[in-house]
Amino acid sequence: MAGKLPFALGLLLLAAQLGGIVYSRFTPLRYFCWAPFDQQTQYVIGVEVGGERLSHQQIQARYRRAASGSDNRSAHHLFDIIEGAESRIEPAGRGRVTVLYRINGGPETEWRYPRP
């Protein structure tokens, strides 16, 4: 049988997840709330830095994500990664990113960074 402290820490881990599930109702991001495979996003990323277009390899290195492909989670994870990477790599805001994406086979939509 478990000791009291490890058991309490275990309960804390579980409680944190319940908090994550509740929090996810108020944000489009789906981290730590058990939303596996709930959305199919097909996307194409285009990046320009100082007027120069980046290659697929450069985009892969920049975001650790393929320049085009599909993702099994919320599309907002992709936007979150792009925003996070851009704010660190190009704090001066020289990067211009366009993501064309479709969620679950729906209409094609465009997302831009910096946000208009």
């Binding site: 478990a2 881990l13 994550g20 599930i21 596996p36 650790r64 994870h77």
Partner: protein, 382 residues
């Protein structure tokens, strides 16, 4: 020839610092990490959820995680201090998840949490963990308009997976109806499981529903969703009551083939879970089993439960860790065929064939193997 003790350790569940079902759970998770060579996906910190992790030297951090996961997995398999090994491996995986948004995945988080909670040593935490997983998954889908309309499943099955059954069946119904049916079923099953898993009395139905649901997904998609299928199935061990007493196996002590089979099985039962007693000792009378019945089939007695023939054989095999290690290896190599065979074996679907084969072997058992090695009847623990 006897194997060195360290090599038989993976088959031994007793004597560790966790209860047998949690030892098996940890070892199966360890094997999953090793068989899939998951360490190849561990990254240097990148857009971490915990900012200070990005201040650490990236490659050293990555290598440390990789070494910890491999060493921890091996320690769970071959060591007796499972708790520490599970904690370190789980912590390393959770740290990997927290250190990179691009590594983040539900399957990795779930595996890490299972190991951490197993290290606590209380199966209730693991059961609640699985219930929370299903609750979160069901709730998120229930609020998603594409899951309401059936659009998610329609797109996934028809366009992404090109699933032959779906492509055949969907046009037979009005648009999106089949997708809506699958979406609704998924939400209902996930939310129902979350509820059932909280109550001990509903544990067995929950285990079977969860197993059939996840196996059905593998059969439908051909995917294991990285670690998720394995972790979700292995977690079900937290709901299983491990036998507290040895299972009595009543066998034909005058049959050389049966003796060889017993010796072979005993090699994989170092804990002595099976108490082999020859029918010639008259032990069958204790449960009112006739000589004729005992001559036709072997019997197992576990608590109040008496099984014979193929059902007895199956009820023995499922308690052997080696069976699950082999099943896991097969599922990693070829998910669909392995899951199909496993489902057939574990459910009554295999009874007609299994019973037929068993009866044929039992009838002809005196023609197989070395008949000179039959041992005098008497109780024997493996």
């Amino acid at each position: 020839m006897a194997l060195p003790a360290a090599l038989t350790r993976p088959f031994r569940l007793q004597g560790a610092d966790l209860e047998p079902r949690l030892v098996l759970l940890c070892r199966l998770l360890a094997l999953t990490l090793l068989f899939t060579w998951h360490v190849q996906y561990l990254q240097t910190p990148f857009l971490s959820f915990v900012p200070f992790l990005e201040e650490l030297p990236g490659v050293a951090f990555q290598r440390t995680l990789q070494v910890t996961v491999v060493a921890g997995s091996l320690a769970m398999l071959f060591g007796a201090r499972i708790r520490l090994a599970a904690f370190l491996t789980g912590a390393a995986l959770l740290l990997a998840v927290l250190s990179s948004r691009t590594y983040f995945g539900n399957n990795k988080t779930f595996t890490a949490l299972l190991l951490l909670l197993a290290a606590v040593g209380d199966a209730r935490l693991l059961r609640w963990q699985v219930a929370i997983l299903y609750f979160g998954a069901g709730l998120n889908k229930a609020f998603d308009p594409d899951w309401h309309s059936g659009q998610f499943f329609d797109h996934w099955a028809a366009e992404r997976l090109r699933n032959a059954f779906y492509l055949w069946a969907a046009p037979l119904l009005p648009p999106l109806v089949l997708g809506k049916l699958f979406c609704g079923m998924t939400i209902a099953v996930e939310l129902a499981l979350a509820g059932l898993m909280l109550f001990r009395r509903w544990a067995w139905p929950a285990v079977w529903i969860s197993a059939l649901f996840q196996c059905g997904l593998v059969l439908f998609t051909g995917q294991t969703f990285t670690l998720f299928f394995f972790a979700s199935q292995i977690a079900l061990l937290a709901f299983v009551e491990w036998p507290k007493e040895p299972i009595t196996v009543i066998w034909d002590g005058e049959c050389g083939f049966c003796a060889q089979a017993r010796d072979r099985i005993s090699q994989f039962d170092p804990d002595g879970l099976f108490n082999w007693v020859a029918q010639q000792t008259g032990i069958g009378q204790r449960w009112g089993l006739s000589r004729e019945a005992l001559a036709n089939a072997m019997y197992t007695v576990s608590g109040e439960r008496i099984r014979s023939g193929y059902a007895a054989f199956r009820a023995m095999i499922v308690w052997l860790p080696a069976f699950w290690y082999a099943a896991l290896a097969a599922a990693v190599l070829a998910p669909r065929p392995a899951v199909l065979l496993l489902l057939l074996f574990l459910t009554p679907l295999s009874n007609p064939i299994g019973e037929g084969v068993y009866r044929w072997v039992a009838r002809n058992r005196h023609r197989f193997g070395d008949q000179t090695c039959a041992v005098p009847p008497g109780p024997r623990r493996s």
